[in-house]
């Protein structure tokens, strides 16, 4: 694995080889391995080793990008020349503000040795512990354990020089019986925190509890969403609403509504790359340090995240949320948090006379970006709530729900939160009580 210093030197060499007015080079090196299991056995087991060099050349306000994973001298020079050639031909973008200036980032060395050392034998042993919890109850389980080590370096001709060493460990477990299923997930920088048997038990217990599901007439019900379901909602808020590009193009639910009450006062959402659990780099792919950004404060829309381009265009500070150039999607928050509330999960469930508990969603998609109207299915543990208790499992339900409206009517937030997602993008989220949620169909 290339060292952070070597990655930075490669980036700086590429900048020096890029004969343009301005130049930027991004190096992303990754060694990762993923052990997949299904039908209570390991079915796929892979490892990869790659390095990406991406070069952005700027001539006036003309921009070109080239990238390669060939790192011999000739190929690196060719990549730099290709970026310059593209920039020469690309029409000028009058809004292009230039590359960002250097500002140091902190806490960028986050690699954990235990994750690096979590090899194929350790992963197989962990899978064995997970599988045993399902197999012993006559259940079938599937899932994955992934470990990765990443080195990121960014340099540009204005003096940016950032490097990071990162690790990530992820596990998911789906346990299935004849009629029910359960889910459990784990995400951390540190693979040694994985308690494989406990994860296997959590999924298997839920599979047993969700057996023999029953029907529920579609309609509008109060709902308690577990953290995995809330994380899905956060992903779509990020995708449709929290980017300064969507905001400026008036495609975001926050467009024109900054300073107004968009959600319940119980809902506060930030992006924070520096929290104890946060995973990934503390600078963005332009090398700008990530700032902690209040996106929605006590239900009031505050601001979107930016990169250098959209900060300049929107008149906000650069919050350090650029994706790799060229980036047609705009800036994106990668470390979302919903701030904890004061309730326990039992209190949220206990406050409902008749409603639905959702463990997680499946295959969610956007039907209307402005209201963030989402449709998707429930999966792996959907329960009817009656008189403040989970009474019986339900067959999977389809929902079609404007999420802005649902979060406006949020009546409870748990104090306990869970870290959900992938090494690239994850959320720290509580469970939520939403007063109205529109279930529009059921699979019988």
């Amino acid at each position: 694995m290339i060292t952070p210093q070597a990655a930075l030197e490669l980036a700086q060499r590429a900048v020096s080889l890029t004969h343009a007015d301005e130049a930027e080079a991004l190096v992303i090196a990754e060694q990762s391995a993923l052990t997949r299991f299904a039908n209570n056995r390991i079915n796929q087991n892979v490892a990869e080793d790659d390095v990406l060099l991406s070069v952005r050349a700027v001539i006036g306000q003309q921009v070109g990008v080239a990238s390669t994973n060939r790192l011999d001298d000739e190929s690196v020079a060719a990549c730099c020349a290709s970026a310059v050639e593209s920039a020469r031909i690309a029409p000028a973008d009058p809004s292009f503000p230039g590359l960002p200036d250097y500002e140091p980032a902190r806490d960028s060395m986050r690699a954990v040795e235990a994750t690096r050392a979590f090899d194929e034998t350790a992963r197989a042993q962990a899978v064995g512990a997970i599988v045993a919890e399902s197999a012993s109850r006559g259940l079938t389980c599937a899932g994955k354990i992934r470990v990765s080590e990443q080195v990121i370096a960014v340099a540009n001709s204005r003096g940016v020089q950032q490097m990071a060493a990162l690790t990530g460990a992820q596990a998911t477990v789906l346990s299935m019986g004849e009629t029910g299923s359960g889910w459990a997930s784990f995400l951390s920088r540190d693979a040694s925190e994985l308690d494989a048997a406990a994860l296997g038990t959590e999924a298997a217990d839920l599979a047993v509890r969700s057996a023999d599901p029953t029907d529920l007439e579609p309609g509008v019900y109060p709902v308690v969403l577990g953290p995995d379901a809330v994380a899905d909602i956060m992903d779509f808020l990020a995708y449709t609403g929290f980017s300064a590009k969507a905001f400026e193009e008036k495609r975001s639910f926050m467009s024109g509504r900054v300073g107004t009450q968009v959600f319940s006062p119980l809902v506060t959402i930030i992006d924070d790359a520096y929290s104890d659990t946060a995973i990934g780099a503390t600078f963005d792919f332009e090398g700008a340090p990530k700032r902690q950004v209040p996106l929605v404060t006590e239900g009031i829309a505050f601001q979107p995240v930016t990169d250098s381009y959209w900060a300049d265009k929107a008149g906000y500070q650069n919050t350090g949320h650029a994706l790799p150039a060229p980036n047609p999607y705009g800036p994106m928050p990668m470390n979302l948090e919903m701030i904890e509330g004061e309730n326990t999960l039992d209190e949220l469930i206990g406050s409902i006379d008749r409603g639905v508990y959702v463990t997680r969603f499946h295959y969610v998609n956007v039907e209307d970006p402005v209201r963030v109207t989402l449709t998707g299915m429930t999966r792996d543990g959907t329960f009817l709530i009656e008189n403040g208790k989970l009474t019986r499992p339900l067959k999977n339900l389809r929902f079609t729900q404007p999420i802005v409206e649902a979060l406006h009517d949020c009546d409870g937030v748990t104090a306990e939160r869970k870290f959900v997602g992938t090494e690239e993008s994850a959320s720290l989220v509580p469970a939520l009580l939403l007063a109205h949620f529109n279930f529009t169909g059921q699979t019988s």
């Binding site: 039908n39 056995r41 029409p91 998911t172």
Partner: protein, 480 residues
């Protein structure tokens, strides 16, 4: 490359493999994108690497590296063997591969005008003009015009003696207009949403699309959609255009008939299938009008190749024959469960991914109807075009799609425009309600280059032949 691949295979066998294959993939990509008057993307990328897949102790292992040297190929093969042996620590029945005569040969996809050789200025000028033409419509505030091309050379060898070399050139382009007011965003795309149209072809495909000619119509429809009503909730007779039919086939026939999903191998991520192994040969999947093929030999389709990534020669197989399930998409390591040879659907997304069961060109075969006759015959109903969003459950039973645009059908004619009409259904009930498919004259092959599956994620380039088709009694206007 033969020597490099041979070195990897010999190293794998020496490390205890009972079977090994190795793929070297060398790829290049160019992406150009204009948005609302500014050039947003001018990017060229290239990538190379080798992946080695090994069966040892009855279990799979795979490793890959970007270093394409004899030494790294050998080291990667040894690593793959070590991973396979670790897999065997939590193994079920040993992996069995369907028998195969080792393939040798070369294959190249069609390409008349090399899209990489067309001057950047020419390509950018077309996008700039198409982008500008859409912005003539005042209600349209965001526009996009995009072009992409992809080239791949792939060498494959196996320890059974296979050695193949293939090359692919894919080209795509499209335009999108967004009209936005205070609380509404509507989208209109051409020739398709989610990335435009894609073929295995060269620049000639982009020329055939006539982006500039379609731009005014696309923008005008986007503007009209802003004030168009939503579809009234209810149950209607629905005619679905070819592009949306291609996605309907993809999600509710293509994925559920992937044999790895049927066997539970994808349960934790993509999901399983409502189809069971024992259903093959007897399950009524749809009406007599529903015949579906999986065909890797369709000229110019993203789903075509000479050999799949197991080394199986390209084939055509009937998956649904006049409504009855007759086959499944398979690979060498899944086909034995069906008691058949692989029908050649093992495909990997690059050198650093393993082959999975993927779609090729999975098509709803054409019927006999002329489109105008079908609308006239429908009398009262709804016609919809171009996907806007999609969602389907983990067994591929309960789906909901929204489209960009629709028109009510009144007195046998297209009448009132409706915006973002959605519909929902249950897979076998929905396909059973299909009572008409338009003829070959209305049938086209739609390329999709964004089919996600697997962990680590793989994005496959697949395609679907489809023509407009009619479905009786479909629920529309859901949750509106």
């Amino acid at each position: 490359m033969r020597d490099l691949i041979t070195a990897a295979l010999e190293a794998a066998l020496a490390a205890g493999a009972t079977y090994a294959d190795a793929r070297v993939v060398d790829s290049s990509r160019e992406e150009l994108r204009y948005s609302t008057g500014r050039v947003e993307v001018v990017e060229r990328t290239d990538s190379v690497g080798i992946g080695v897949r090994v069966l040892a102790d009855g279990a799979w292992g795979f490793a890959s590296t970007r270093e394409v040297t004899d030494a790294s190929a050998v080291e990667t093969a040894r690593r793959a063997a070590a991973i396979a042996k670790a897999s065997a620590l939590v193994a079920g029945a040993p992996v069995v591969l369907a028998p195969l005569e080792p393939a040798t040969g070369t294959w190249a996809g069609p390409c008349e005008i090399d899209p990489f050789a067309v001057p950047l200025e020419t390509k950018l000028a077309l996008l700039e003009a198409a982008d500008a033409a859409m912005r003539e419509q005042p209600e349209v505030s965001i526009t996009e015009a995009h072009f992409g091309c992809y080239r791949e050379r792939k060498w494959f060898g196996s320890s059974e003696g296979a050695f193949t070399e293939q090359s692919f050139t894919e080209t795509g382009a499209g335009i999108v207009a967004y009209a936005i007011d205070s609380d509404e965003v509507v989208t209109r795309s051409y020739p398709n949403s989610h990335g435009g149209g894609w073929k295995q072809a060269g620049w000639e495909y982009v020329e055939s699309l006539d982006l500039l000619g379609h731009a005014p119509r696309v923008a005008e429809q986007a503007a009209q959609l802003l004030t168009a009503p939503l579809v009234d909730p209810g149950v209607v007779d629905l005619i679905i255009d070819g592009s949306q039919m291609s996605l309907q086939v993809h999600e509710s026939i293509g994925h559920p008939t992937e044999l790895d999903r049927v066997l539970g191998e994808e349960a934790a991520f993509a999901g399983t299938s409502w189809v069971r192994l024992e259903d093959v040969g007897s399950l009524t999947y749809g009406s007599e009008h529903v015949t579906v093929t999986a065909d890797a030999t369709v000229p110019g389709s993203l789903g075509s190749f000479g050999f799949d990534d197991d080394g199986v020669p390209a084939a055509r197989d009937v998956i649904v024959d006049r409504g009855v399930l007759t086959g499944l998409l398979s690979s060498r390591d899944t086909a034995p469960a069906l008691g058949r040879a692989s029908n050649g659907c093992a495909r990997a997304d690059g050198y650093n991914r393993i082959p999975l069961v993927r779609m090729t060109t999975v098509s709803l075969e054409p019927g006999t109807w002329d489109f105008d006759d079908l609308v006239a015959d429908t009398g009262e109903g709804l016609y919809i075009e171009t996907n806007n969003s999609w969602s389907i459950d983990d067994k591929r039973l309960n789906f909901q799609f929204a489209c960009e645009i629709g028109w009510t059908i009144e007195n046998g004619e297209l009448a009132k425009m409706v915006r973002t009409p959605n519909y929902t259904g249950i897979t076998p009930k929905f396909w059973a309600s299909c009572d008409a498919v338009c003829s070959k004259a209305h049938w086209d092959v739609w390329g999709l280059n964004n089919c996600g599956k697997g962990e680590p994620m793989q994005v496959a380039h697949v395609a679907h032949g489809a023509a407009p088709a009619r479905f009786r009694g479909v629920q529309v206007g859901v949750g509106r």
